[in-house]
């Protein structure tokens, strides 16, 4: 159905801070006005809750990772489309050992991480890279908010987590980064997704989102005083300062130019990544109870190819809106 009021949720993370900045500085309103709609942007402290709210239908769009997009809204039956591929983690997520310098030392340790999150996925990929499996370690679920404090306790020797926690933990002299997401580039992707049904009926909403994103992203990467001010503001909003924020940005591959994003989305890498991700999720039983195989949920690629069950497509990648931005036709 056609509507004019839309609700967007975002949570505090380096690659998503532009949403808050855009809301604070009138960029959201500017683009919404342009398309004659209203967009309400809500900030979450708690990432999981923002996804839950989206899945339950309280929001039309939300920021999340490709993996969570598949396992939460898509597996929950909410047909979801990735409107914007904002960035991928290029070192933002890391495996950190205490007093040990090599990944192989992780064997037999307790590993503290947020279970079933991208950290868990990163751990699986890291273990795979040295021919270990999850059976060789013991996973202990630990809330992200307390990861830094957890690392400081004596009995915690291995953690997998993301920024800003990674950089805070690495300030400890004992902390050694032994694996990070730059070793699996392009696999942990941060998206702005929207409800496919809403998007289909209201393509202007998608366009507005794209407009907001690329205007703000350009500011974010600008080497100007305005850009610096924007980065400083985003840093502060995420609880750190300019320096801290810039160091987080450095390990984020941000698609500030729409053309780059289009290229990445259309590349062969994405289906491969999604295949890895869905298999990981299937093994963990996260594609729904009693899912017979990793194929239960269909994932549509920009070129129309479908990964998995084509009768049950719930996650769609599209370049439509990014391309519109690239073409300047917003």
């Amino acid at each position: 159905e056609q509507k004019t009021d839309f609700k967007v949720a975002w949570s505090i993370y380096v690659g998503w801070m532009p949403w808050g900045y855009a809301a604070d500085h009138g960029i959201v309103k500017k683009w919404a006005d342009k398309y004659g709609i209203k967009i309400e942007v809500t900030q979450f402290n708690d990432y999981v809750e923002s996804m839950n709210q989206y899945t339950a239908g309280a929001f039309d769009a939300v920021t999340l990772t490709n993996m969570d997009g598949l396992s939460i809204p898509a597996a929950g039956g909410v047909d979801t489309t990735a409107v914007i591929v904002g960035d991928f983690s290029n070192g933002n997520d890391a495996v950190i050992l205490k007093d040990k310098a090599s990944l192989a030392d992780i064997k037999g340790q307790n590993v503290n991480l947020v279970e079933f999150s991208v950290s868990h996925y990163l751990l699986a990929r890291a273990l795979e890279s040295i021919k270990l499996t999850e059976r060789d370690v013991k996973v202990v679920n630990t809330s992200d908010a307390d990861m830094v404090a957890a690392y400081k306790t004596a009995d915690v020797t291995a953690v997998v987590t993301w920024n800003p926690l990674v950089s805070t933990i690495l300030e400890e002299p004992t902390a050694k980064k032994v694996f990070d997401s730059s070793q699996v580039p392009g696999e942990i992707i941060d998206l702005m997704v929207a409800n496919s049904g809403v998007l289909k009926d209201n393509p202007n909403f998608g366009k507005a989102l794209a407009g907001i994103w690329y205007e703000t992203a350009a500011l974010l990467t600008a080497d100007s005083a305005d850009g610096k001010a924007a980065r400083e503001a985003m840093g502060q909003a995420s609880g750190t300062d300019l320096k801290g924020y810039e160091s987080q940005l450095a390990v984020t591959k941000l698609f500030d130019k729409p053309a780059d994003a289009v290229a990445f989305t259309a590349s062969d890498g994405l289906p491969k990544t999604m295949d890895l991700v869905r298999n990981f999720l299937f093994e963990k039983g996260l594609l729904g109870n009693g899912a017979p195989s990793a194929d239960v949920i269909g994932i549509e690629m920009p070129n129309g190819k479908i990964l998995g069950d084509s009768g049950n497509v719930k996650l769609r990648f599209t370049e439509t809106y990014m391309k519109a931005a690239a073409d300047g036709s917003l």
Binding site: V48, M51, N52, T55, A56, G57, S71, I72, A75, G76, G77, V78, N112, E115, F116, S117, K138, V139, V140, N141, T142, S143, A145, D146, V148, A149, A150, K152, T153, A154, D155, V156, L286, G288, N289
Partner: protein
């Protein structure tokens, strides 16, 4: 007749008692059906079949990975923490509360301190707690103790202070020393209150337990709830919440029975 003088019959009483529970279930059923009609995979308000399935999986089918029946192992893990936390709180509260109530010097020393401490929001100090106690069971139990003990101490100290001065004087004229008066006069009289106090703290204790388990754990009812919250698996969360509530209601009831059985005079006093 005035409303305040109208009384329901036995049958009406029972019906009235059940009514809100039934209404809740009906409201849930309707809401759930409506959402499921819209999206058959909706996770927020699963149907009762979904619950039955989840309960079956968690309570009666062994987890393939660990070989445990998750609901029971979670319950076991949580209850051990809860009992340890409440046990330590109870003993601390009993000893310190009684001393504060009895000894003016200790009262001056600790009473205002405990009052201030009881106002500190414990969840905000978790990092310190972790670093001091590690991430294991100790810190979870400690969180319960920190959350629950100050209130219990204050309550018991008050209770000990409220004992009529005449009783203490009388005990002195019977030759009682401070120790003896504590042991034979004050202690037995605050024990029933301790149980009541414990009952009142069951709710907060569960709350802190769940908060602690949410932060770092690999089993426990709170752990499971927060883990599956990531997938909005309300089909698991609801039964777990109902189960926790049931456990709390049962404990509450048992504790009161214990008080009446062990301290019959405390019930007599109340009726008098």
């Amino acid at each position: 007749m005035r409303w305040i003088n109208t009384r329901p019959s036995r049958g009406a009483q029972l019906a009235l008692t059940l009514l809100p529970f039934v209404l809740l279930i009906v409201a849930y059923t309707v809401g759930s059906a409506a959402r499921l009609a819209e999206n058959a995979n909706d996770k927020l308000l699963p149907g009762f079949a979904g619950f039955a399935d989840a309960i079956d999986r968690f309570a009666f089918v062994a987890d393939p990975r660990t070989g445990q029946y998750l609901l029971w192992s979670d319950t076991g893990a949580s209850l051990i923490r809860l009992f340890a936390g409440l046990g330590i709180s109870t003993i601390t509260a009993l000893v310190i509360g009684m001393l504060i109530g009895m000894l003016p010097y200790l009262r001056a020393l600790l009473s205002p301190f405990v009052a201030v401490i009881s106002m500190v929001p414990p969840l905000a100090l978790l990092p310190i707690l972790f670093i001091a106690m590690g991430l294991g069971e100790a810190s979870k139990i400690a969180l319960i103790v920190i959350g629950v003990a100050p209130t219990m101490i204050r309550d018991l100290a008050l209770k000990a202070l409220e004992l009529p001065r005449e009783q203490i004087v009388k005990a002195e004229t019977l030759g009682g020393s401070s120790w003896q008066i504590g042991l034979r006069v004050v202690l037995p009289q605050i024990l029933p209150r301790l149980i009541t106090c414990l009952r009142l703290q069951l709710g907060p204790a569960w709350l802190f337990l769940i908060a602690a388990e949410a932060i770092s754990s690999d089993s426990g009812l709170g752990y499971r709830i927060f883990l599956v919250r990531r997938y909005l698996s309300m089909d698991i969360i609801f039964p777990y919440v109902v189960w926790i509530t049931l456990l709390a209601v049962i404990m509450n009831y048992i504790l009161d029975r214990i008080r009446i059985a062990v301290f019959p005079w405390s019930e007599l006093e109340k009726q008098a």
